[in-house]
Symmetry: D2
């Protein structure tokens, strides 16, 4: 059976990324506690394709990812997966992105009733000639309450749901846990969100947000200050998008930087 | 050239709807002022397929819709399109849905600075053996401010963006204009939304929302009361979905009814 | 603390559904084998709100759903959840929808290499004054290969990915398993899909699809015939949407019916 | 009225982008023919926020964009908008992205029946201290037919819809028209797509695709070769994502480069 993908290519063009996208698989993500969380993962995986190769064998990606979907996965395992991929494909560079919803149990602020909140998270890895880069990302929902609206109005201030999205490139060997990153980020909004809020809890979050008004600009700056205190961050991006309750469009702020 | 779709089918199953979905075309929607708005339309169109026909000729839908995309369209033209479709396909019943963003110019509440706000609207028609049903739908973004949060808190009250979605089946020959329906619905939230708000406007909408707290249940009931005053409505559905600023989930209420 | 939601309402309007939407929680779905699959569930839950009640207490939904997210869930448990909800809210009717990705392991057709494919599934329940309705839904990705294109062309025939979406209202006490429904539906396309296909597998699915051309109309009719053979179905809806490779729009067919 | 956003900030953090996102406005896009197309635009606009400023005045973005939504827009006007924004905000840098569906009329390949096909396009501009960068982007739907499947199978070959997404940074003063770019890209797939295809047209595209099998890797390389022939390109990105008809995931290839 002739293998068309294995033919020699004469166009002389190296392709940065060739691979598969939007593969859904069950995955076990390592928890800080030492166990694992069972999540539904969405994978993108690719290799660099040398100029002389016509194509990749896409089925190999799926075989490798399927095998890994039975094991616990964290930064070190993403590296192993990339090593396996680049070896199998004889590729100079390989990339992988795993996105998933991650649940953390949090107590309501007054009644302490526990419930699970979901956070969109992702692991992104790149391995090129032995150099490994790992990035952890998360989108944390928060409340923003508008400082301008509060200042100029006799009563009240508009508030809304907002997303604080952060990615952290990590120093190799250093692990930043989702369990630690999420509470740090939730503390940067006017208030955190909760699945269950009884009336005394709702009073608490309403008054807390009113006492702590923040523009998206404030959220981003305060998040940068908080991230600077984290050990092991090489590079960060921080974005806040606020689904304004008085507009049909969103306010946003984005910045990025190298950590000390 | 053999026509496979025109073959006789022996499975004995009539299919309710066979057609095309997600066709994008420029469309001119009739305005109340007598002119037309140029919008980008998304069409779904279908016919009932008799049990003895194997298939439809899908290209005919696109030909008919393409021709109509050059003319002004309202309820009467949707009827003509359905008549043309059911005749061309020799079908007992035909359906069509046209979705589009529609813009209305609105002045800011204090400074009166005008700007355009977008509303997701749709026309849905069904023609069956000469009987025509036409439904107008729209999703109007509003602010909701929580009555419970206001009542129990010393300061402030959480607010958020919400969607008030309404569909109206209309009595034949009677036209309800988007231009009339949208302001009626915007008045049912705690406040309307605006693209441009200078500081004096922002003060106004903040204080107005605080003075007018509403649950999704209130918005739906008040919308039902308002719609009852509209002449020409045969049947309505009303839904409010509120993107709660203190939760990562939404509150919603839905009801439907026959008009007097 | 005054309870605004508990106040008497004078507008005289009963609301069909009041509740929460888009709550994400980990869920254990009962498997045919007797175990459970751990999935990420998205819940919508609502009750009918009597005309004299101003509002619901939304936090109760989340409390109830959170508790159930620790147990194995199937049709019988959805009934229990609805019973608990309608009792707690003193509501005449309650509804619940749980959507999730479900994975089934399938071997490649020739090499028999196993891999997991994901199917979007949902459970929908309604309990009204003791009468329970349960509906199982699934969207199964398939290949469609166009009979017309094959007939009129000297070589080849266009094919594409399509979605076959089915919902089944079930007779009480009778369970139709996803594990049984999905293979039945996959058999109605020109070919099933697979995560891993080596070259001999790819040859197989290519030739199988070419030998089995189907319009969306054919897929829907064949699915109806197949579903008629299932014991325990009260009512079905069947829809096929095909992402045509020669157009930028989709072909679709939809029908519904009562089972014998 | 105190202006909170105008206050001095002491956190010492410059924010790369602060602005508005997802504003919908009617826009007139310059056509190659000299006229304009009326489209529905989605704008993102931002400025760099100096470390000593607490916030921006978001309403100014909307005022400026609203004014421009009445004029014909192309690369030169995006520069003017950015100049107006950076002046009004006294910002070192400003960015703007305008996304829209653009329609081109194309005749069916044999019958020559004309119909309009929609292409997702975007203009992205950045102005920093007088230096202007303008990028044109488009996503062109095409058919890919798998070379491996054709080679190894006795009959047929799987095909599917795919997206070829290209962005081109342009040399200042040089205009590349969507009207020229789209046909160039459509020629790189196994076949182009069409809204209306009668049977003789469908035969043509089926046989053309079968005679011209391409992996996503081939599409990307051929697109790079084609773009090299375009005058005025400074930098390009090229991506092809193919919605495989035999899998529930996608194949993709991405590359980027500087033009000669």
């Amino acid at each position: 059976m002739r293998d068309v993908a294995a033919e020699r290519d004469e166009r002389g063009i190296t392709i940065r990324r060739v691979g598969v996208r939007d593969i859904h698989l069950p995955v076990r993500v390592r928890e800080k506690s030492g166990g694992h969380a069972r999540v539904v993962g969405t994978f993108d995986a690719s290799v660099e394709l040398a100029h002389y190769q016509r194509g990749t064998h896409m089925s190999r990606f799926v075989e490798i990812l399927s095998r890994w979907s039975k094991k616990d996965v964290g930064s070190a395992e993403i590296r192993e997966m990339l090593h396996e991929i680049s070896t199998r494909f004889q590729a100079r560079a390989a990339e992988l992105r795993l996105s998933f919803k991650y649940f953390l149990t949090k107590p309501a602020p007054v009644t302490r009733i526990p419930s699970d909140l979901d956070y969109d998270c992702w692991f992104a890895g790149r391995l090129q000639e032995g150099t490994y880069e790992f990035t952890l990302g998360t989108t944390v929902p928060i409340t923003t309450l508008c400082p301008c609206s509060k200042e100029i109005s006799r009563h009240g201030a508009h508030s809304q749901r907002a997303h604080l999205r952060v990615s952290l490139r990590q120093r190799e060997g250093r692990i930043i846990w989702i369990e630690d990153l999420v509470p740090l980020l939730e503390a940067q909004g006017s208030s955190a969100l909760f699945p269950v809020l009884k009336r005394s809890d709702e009073q608490h979050v309403t008054e807390a947000a009113f006492a702590n008004p923040k523009f998206v600009e404030d959220v981003v700056r305060d998040a940068v200050l908080a991230l600077r205190g984290l050990d092991g961050v090489v590079r960060y991006t921080v974005e806040c998008e606020s689904f304004e309750s008085i507009h049909n469009h969103n306010a946003y702020a984005y910045t990025e930087g190298e950590a000390g």
